[in-house]
């Protein structure tokens, strides 16, 4: 079934006020285009779940679209603090729920597998488990030992950016695969954005690379460069200079507003955003090719 629609239509249909949203991707393939479209449509009261909120949630929070964040590392990766989310939390303006990486991802894994919770070995650190009542301790019924459990996370909607998908939504990812697959299977609705829309034949030529089967996908959107300033392995590099620059921008509300005015509200879509980016930035982000050796699936 052809599920190809525009990103603005996909967000309108599938992201509603009050939803828990999981915009997936550990550093890689972060769906900024979809985040910006959520801001443009002014969808509010959202609960934003991500292991690392990253700049995408800093921007959505700054735009006033979020009520709460669920996270396990609230930093600007490699740079420092995630200033806007941090300031809102410190000021008491934003609810939050906090985990370690493993417990956050275990929540998704349970959600994706359709089970109520996930056990982990205890870490003895203790304090995060004391301040977040979602952590529980159970007796292992087999050994009598102790396990820590966290509940399944089943977001209303997940957004996953991929290198290539076909029109049905069969989606292939390479490079860091983070928690994309788990987020896709855990969520009730799923939007896939893709650098390239390819034929089903290309997908079928390399089935091991398919992380998401089309039949769990609700919408497929053709969005080249959708991950910038994050990156797409083999397509364009991470814009580390922008991650450093955001550290300056996010020091003042005015500068953040000016950024949103120019780069989010001031453009119609990702194509216009990319057009507006300076040529030297695009040059800097170009990637030289590094092909893998082909594998032989055989013909049977």
């Amino acid at each position: 079934m052809n599920k190809l629609i525009s990103l603005s239509e996909a967000i309108r249909r599938h992201v509603h006020p009050g939803d828990t949203v999981y915009a997936a991707g550990f550093t890689h393939l972060i769906p900024f285009a979809a985040g910006h479209e959520i801001i443009r449509q002014g969808i509010n009261d959202l609960v934003l779940a991500r292991a690392t909120p990253d700049l995408i949630y800093d921007q959505i929070v700054a735009a006033g679209c979020a009520r709460k964040v669920i996270f396990s590392y609230m930093g600007n990766p490699g740079v420092g603090s995630l200033r806007f989310v941090r300031a809102q939390i410190e000021a008491g303006n934003l609810e939050w729920e906090e985990y370690s990486h493993f417990s956050m991802i275990s929540r998704l894994q349970a959600g994706a597998a359709g089970i109520p919770f996930m056990p982990m070995n205890p870490t003895a650190a203790g304090h995060l488990e004391q301040v977040n009542p979602q952590y529980r301790h159970l007796v292992d019924p087999y050994s009598g030992g102790e396990v820590v459990v966290v509940p399944a996370l089943n977001p209303e909607v997940a957004i996953v950016h991929v290198q290539r998908a076909d029109a049905d939504g069969n989606a292939q990812i390479w490079g860091i695969v983070g928690e994309q697959k788990e987020a896709a299977f855990a969520s009730k609705r799923l939007i896939v954005t893709a650098e390239e829309i390819v034929s089903e034949e290309i997908i079928r030529s390399d089935p091991n690379r398919t992380l998401i089967p089309g039949f769990i996908v609700d919408a497929v959107c053709h969005e080249p460069f959708a991950a910038h300033p994050s990156y797409t392995q083999g397509y364009y590099d991470r814009d580390n200079a922008f991650y450093l620059q955001w550290d300056e921008i996010s020091k003042s509300r005015e500068d953040v507003q000016a950024y949103l005015d120019e780069w989010v509200y001031g453009v119609e879509d990702r194509a216009e955003y990319w057009d507006r980016l300076a040529l030297e930035v695009k040059e800097r982000l170009k990637v030289r090719s590094g092909l893998s050796s082909p594998v032989n699936y055989g013909s049977y």
């Binding site: 550990f26 890689h28 690392t52 990486h101 493993f102 205890p122 870490t123 991650y243 450093l244």
Partner: protein, 265 residues
Amino acid sequence: MSQTTKYSSAELLTINAAHLLQDGDVVFVGVGLPNLACNLARHTHAPNLVMIYEAGVIGAQPARLPLSIGDPNLVSGSLAVCSMYEIFALYLQRGNIDVGFMGGAQIDRFGNINATIIGRGFPDLQENYQHPKIRLPGSGGSMEIAAWANRCYIITPHQKRRFPEKVDFRTSAGFLGGRPEREAAKLRGGGPQAVVTDLGILQPDESGELILTALHPGKTIEMVKENTGWDIKVSSELSTSDPPGDEELRILREELDPLGVYLKA
């Protein structure tokens, strides 16, 4: 080894951290100085070091220094890529990681680490957590690394505020209240083995308390005592660390961080 070359405090930290790694170690690498230390070790005495990044990259050999732990250059040329759940479950929880590097805003007497909040001194943990003086980034992977890596190393500047008697929030476990308490918790990892600072090296004694075991050249016991939040004990076998070697400094400056992103401090 040259005694004459000048070096920065970040270079001193990085080189001493590299010396803690053994050839063949499987290391859970963090960004910044740990990343430099691991790459330096791989270029010198530990060519068979296996670098694992929590983003799910195994056996990375980054040609350029990654800014984050999820940069694309970690993937190209690596041995394997897996999901985040797998890296924490199959690699860390299962017991396949030799070394974990940690940072943190506070490290206490028993090597417990705080990366979550600096409190306002409320007696109640929940109140301190809900109304922090400073909100820090949080655990990330450190809660599990501290529990399950065979050996943990901590790299941090030596400042009094970073070394309180007790952390405001225990994000990850050192020896808890002492070695017997960690043993009772049956964590598979051995806990913190060394804290490398710009003054020297702290290591746990038989009770699990961090004591001063080595000073860097030119540093004194008084400097360590002044910058530690508890009455720190000095090992009876206190040694002096080797100064950074010329070749180590050359590799760091010319090959690993030519722009001085991490080493200018």
